[in-house]
Symmetry: C2
Subunit: 243 residues, 2 copies
């Protein structure tokens, strides 16, 4: 145990030269070239949620004027898929492309990720799972969401199967995201969130929970509508054979 | 750098007391209480592939006799979902329950995992992603596969939606499985497979690739059949409104 403690102390000295100190948890996590955000939190969050609100509202008006026949669920689904697709492509795509040196970024998106990372430092430590899951999300669920939004507006018959696959991917990715974090916390005693409840509960738990609830609903909706149509087609097929 | 090297050397000394040496890569991976397999590789592999072959064949005969109307694709799908579900529940379920001390197991399943781990040592090092992905696979895709198999035999209309979700989950889990391994190899220079090509190409690449090819096909099949049925239902709905 003494040897291990000595090794740890030496390790810390060596690492502090390569990796500057930072406010992320665990405090000995290796964050590449960390620089403190230059902009304030209210400014950054206003930009992010403001952009989301504008896009969400714009989709509402565009959707309503292009296809006035869209019912409430269809209109809300379109708004959701456009917003979700934009977040995947722009926000998560930025992370997938810049994961290696996010700690030193001072762009709006880079600063937003450094702010979010207070709830999950894995975004700054080149974690294999987080990077791979985010890359798949940006490259596949991002365009997938926009294609589903388009398909809903034109009432394409492939919209429900694709909705199920995209929402299923978001749901499963999110479950693994929560689960890997919980595993490292409970099994390895490694906690990635800062101790302030706001970071854990708002950023980590609540923001990600949206991608459990809405995709969960859309998976069930897509499954039921597909199954009903299949049931109808099967009955007609049977009816024909009997005749 | 000298400090880092010294720390590494000290770390190694400390760890060798807690973790015995083992043949897995990277050689400094921490494998809990490793004990060499007591049974030979041909014996273990014969048991595994023999059990798979028996189950696969048995499903063929049972499926054919219970529902002689099953076409080739339906019969093969049933055989696949029964085999795949059994592997998820029994083989991967065993891992999910025993991941903490797999290195010392001498049961058939434990020895099989220690053999497979030559191609991916993460199964012996309590890796967060592998454990979470395997647990979801065992708990959800396992029973899900068996439910789909049953639904195919009784031609339940929910079989295609569920087939898409289960196959989508298997596919995505497998993509992340490959991707996280590749990331750690290329970005961190950490390789989890032993250098012998057999382990990498047969166990890691080929065995997992089966869960890319067949679920990939089943996702496309389920999507096309669902979309066709939805298309038909939409046309009839439209026809009714016009009348």
């Amino acid at each position: 145990m003494a040897a291990a403690a000595a090794a740890l102390a030496l390790n810390k000295t060596a690492n502090s030269v390569l990796y500057p100190p930072h406010p992320y948890y665990p405090l000995d996590a290796l964050v590449n070239g960390y620089v403190e955000n230059k902009d304030g939190v209210p400014y950054l969050l206003t930009l992010f949620f403001g952009a989301c609100a504008i896009l969400f509202t714009a989709t509402y008006f565009v959707g309503q004027s292009v296809t006035p026949k869209l019912n409430r669920v269809e209109l809300f689904s379109t708004m959701w898929f456009v917003l979700s697709g934009a977040i995947h492509l722009i926000f998560e795509g930025y992370y997938a492309l810049n994961f290696a040196d996010m700690g030193e970024k001072q762009t709006i998106l880079g600063q937003l990720w450094k702010e979010y990372a207070f709830s999950d430092s894995r975004y700054l430590t080149q974690n294999a799972f987080v990077l791979c899951m985010e890359s798949v999300t940006a490259a596949f669920w991002g365009p997938g969401c926009l294609i589903v939004a388009y398909m809903i507006v034109v009432r394409h018959p492939m919209r429900y199967p694709l909705q199920m696959l995209v929402s299923g991917g978001q749901f499963y990715g999110d479950v693994l995201y929560y689960a890997t974090c919980g595993f490292d916390h409970f099994v390895w005693g490694k906690t990635y969130a800062r101790p302030e409840p706001f970071y854990f509960w708002f950023y980590f738990f609540f923001m990600n929970f949206i991608w459990i609830v809405i995709p969960g609903y859309l998976i069930i909706e897509g499954s039921i509508i597909s199954a009903r149509a299949i049931d109808k087609a099967q009955r007609q097929e049977k009816g024909k054979k009997v005749q």
